[in-house]
């Protein structure tokens, strides 16, 4: 499979061996994976590269998973994020959901469950992008009916602002 057809995953965990194990298994299943061992590194990676789904460990030194989740969601609105945790609690699950996490998985989990979650997250990302694009298309159509060419250009620029 060509690289551009693969789902792009950002995998973040400070437990390096765990990170490497998951990454190579995901690569065998035709996902394109980039790894980061800290929250800071993952934010920098997301700035430079385009990802469809991020898989974040909750407990990390420095910026923890919840802080990274918040920052990534602020900067990359279509990125879906799956949280992993060694010890799940209702409180952290609720907090992560409020911050916009797509799903919350407890380690160790069945690998197929992770694959399923990534695929669902990817579908959710496409759906949200599609709905957004459709809405924009409708707005553009409305604009083209009643505005001058310059007015259309200005409105398009406004609609395009902030897109990533």
């Amino acid at each position: 499979m060509e690289d551009e057809q693969k789902i792009r995953i950002l995998l973040v965990d400070d437990e390096v061996k765990f990170l490497e194990s998951i990454a190579r298994r995901l690569e065998l299943r035709n996902f394109k994976v980039m790894t980061a061992t800290s929250g800071e590194e993952s934010i920098a990676a997301a700035k430079k590269n385009l990802f469809d789904v991020a898989v974040l460990d909750l407990q990390m030194p420095g910026l923890d998973g919840a802080q990274v989740l918040k920052r990534l969601k602020e900067r990359h609105k279509y990125l879906e994020i799956i949280m992993l945790t060694g010890h799940a609690t209702v409180e952290t699950a609720v907090e992560c959901t409020k911050l916009g996490a797509f799903q919350y998985l407890e380690k160790p989990y069945a690998f197929d469950k992770l694959i399923e979650s990534i695929k669902d997250a990817y579908k959710a990302r496409l759906k949200r992008k599609f709905e957004h694009n459709e809405k924009r298309y409708e707005e553009i159509q409305k604009l083209s009916l009643g505005s001058s060419p310059f007015g259309i250009l200005k409105a398009l620029a406004r609609l395009d602002n902030g897109e990533k």
Binding site: S21, Q59, G86, P108
Partner: protein, 231 residues
């Protein structure tokens, strides 16, 4: 270790619970890595069944990783065992180097990436008589504070100096200012008093000394030092 006030029982239990949770978290990480490695072996087997060439280097890497994680798991279980047995005797002879090493190791189970260098003197007699559980609690709190103070990329040093009067000084140096909490907390100070230890923190010189007596006063005396007077 209950003196009837309930204070010690609760603080001691909190510490025991915290360490148990931390160790179980570490073991869970070990199991997660083994589980992924086993899954990877299964993936390779399936691929081989489908006619794809078996990648021997990947098999080798995978089996080495499993062995390393099993060693790490055994090592963690051994530490858990030593920690669990530290409540067997209220007061006993302990080797300070072993206790400090154990607490540095266990504190490292928290998601901490900072580094610590521990250089105990090799030729000195570092045996003391104390309450091992309380001493562990005190050293653990100090190590965690030291980790926090230097931040995720920092480094600090720990040493032990035998004093002329027979007491021992556990010395922390190279500390930072990144910790958001005050050290020692009231509970930690009371814990130190209960075993006759003294904590001296000098933020300007980024140093902390914990002095512990060669032989702790009787347990009854120690308890009377921390007893909460009745209302």
């Amino acid at each position: 270790m209950d003196n009837g006030t309930g204070f010690e029982t609760r603080e001691d239990l909190v510490f025991f619970g915290k360490i148990s949770a931390s160790i179980s978290h570490e073991l869970k990480n070990v199991m997660a890595i083994i589980s992924e490695a086993a899954g990877f072996l299964e993936d390779l087997t399936k691929m081989a069944q489908e006619g794809k060439p078996l990648q021997l280097d990947m098999l080798r890497t995978c089996s080495r990783e499993i062995m390393e994680e099993i060693d790490r798991g055994f090592d963690t279980i051994q530490q858990m065992n030593r920690f669990a047995h530290s409540v067997d005797d209220d007061v006993k002879h302990i080797n300070l180097t072993e206790v400090v090493t154990l607490m540095i190791h266990i504190a490292g189970f928290l998601s901490i990436s900072a580094k610590v260098r521990f250089d105990p003197p090799l030729d000195a007699d570092l045996t003391i008589v104390t309450c091992p559980f309380r001493l562990q609690n005190l050293i653990y709190q100090a190590v965690v504070y030291a980790f926090e103070s230097v931040g995720p990329t920092g480094e600090f040093r720990v040493g032990i100096i035998a004093q002329e009067n027979g007491s021992m000084c556990i010395s922390f140096s190279g500390l930072g200012t990144k910790s958001l909490r005050q050290f020692p907390a009231d509970e930690t100070s009371k814990m130190a008093v209960s075993i006759g230890a003294e904590i001296r923190l000098s933020e300007n010189s980024r140093k902390m000394d914990i002095t512990v007596p060669k032989r702790m006063e009787s347990w009854e005396h120690a308890l009377s030092q921390t007893a909460v007077p009745p209302d």
